[in-house]
């Protein structure tokens, strides 16, 4: 059975292990600087029933001055890229203009968006 929740939970744990303190699929739980894990779609269903889960990872930082925000986002992006997750098959795997409005913030926050693929299989989900 394909289990999106389990795959996202495992990814959240993996990102936390890489040094990110605030990581969740639930934007209510996030406290910038943070990473929002957002499952987007299932693609590439394979002959044995396995599939690919496309996930968007939003690195989000507080509303500081632009250059400082970019520096913080660059650090977050480097941390996410170090996880060595394959890029999703989208036009722009790394979107540098992805401002996000979180539930506990009145203004949109600076963000980078990284689109990656996860493996969905009986073993991993």
């Amino acid at each position: 059975m394909i289990n999106v929740a389990a795959a996202c939970t495992a990814l959240v744990a993996r990102i936390k292990a890489a040094g990110f303190d605030s990581v969740s699929v639930d934007p209510e739980e996030l406290n910038p600087s943070c990473v929002w894990v957002q499952p987007r779609g299932i693609t590439d269903v394979r002959l044995n029933g396995d599939a690919t889960l496309e996930v968007w990872l939003y690195a989000i930082v507080p509303n500081v001055d632009t250059l400082h925000a970019m520096t913080l986002l660059d650090d977050a992006l480097a941390g996410l890229l170090s996880l060595d997750l394959p890029f999703a098959d989208v036009a722009t795997p790394v979107d540098l203009a992805a401002a996000v409005l979180l539930p506990n913030n009145s203004a949109a926050l600076p963000a980078y968006r990284l689109a990656v693929d996860l493996e969905l299989s009986e073993e991993t989900s």
């Binding site: 590439d44 394979r46 002959l47 044995n48 396995d50 394959p86 890029f87 098959d89 795997p93």
Partner: protein, 140 residues
């Protein structure tokens, strides 16, 4: 006696293997698409003196085709297997969704490796059957 009603099925979950019966390589978990395709070569019809026509000969060929996500080149994986066994005849089995299977002998050609940086690259497999493949009952 009534015939069973055929059922339209989606492809998968199924199995695609190549190699000897004792140690086949199962690459179903890398397979995004699979099919057996048929081709036919025909010779020209021959007109007969009485005005009738004698149909030309027909020669059928079959090919196993698949689209595979590339593995990390590990020993025993499908990329490694195709390179190590290139040009050889090997048994292959394609079970589209459980139940009956298609079996035969294919000539292994090496799979391409690589593609776009940072992406999951795929290889197109196109292996010709030696003779014709057969439909067989559940292999269990």
């Amino acid at each position: 006696m009534t015939s069973p009603t055929p059922t339209v099925r989606k492809l998968g979950p199924g199995v695609l293997t190549v190699g000897s019966a004792g140690s086949p390589v199962d690459f179903s978990n890398r397979c995004k698409a699979a099919r057996v395709t048929w081709g036919v070569d025909t010779s020209d019809d021959t007109p007969m003196l009485d005005g009738s026509t004698s149909a030309g000969d027909r020669t059928y060929t079959a090919t196993l085709e698949a689209t595979l996500e590339q593995d990390d080149l590990y020993p025993g994986g499908i990329i490694d297997y195709s390179w190590a066994h290139k040009g050889t005849e090997q048994p292959a089995t394609f079970t589209p969704y459980g139940g009956r299977s298609i079996t035969g002998t294919v000539v292994v050609d090496p799979l391409d490796v690589g593609g776009d940086v940072g992406s999951k690259n795929t290889s197109d497999l196109k292996w010709a059957f030696v003779g014709e493949p057969e439909l067989v009952d559940d292999l269990g």
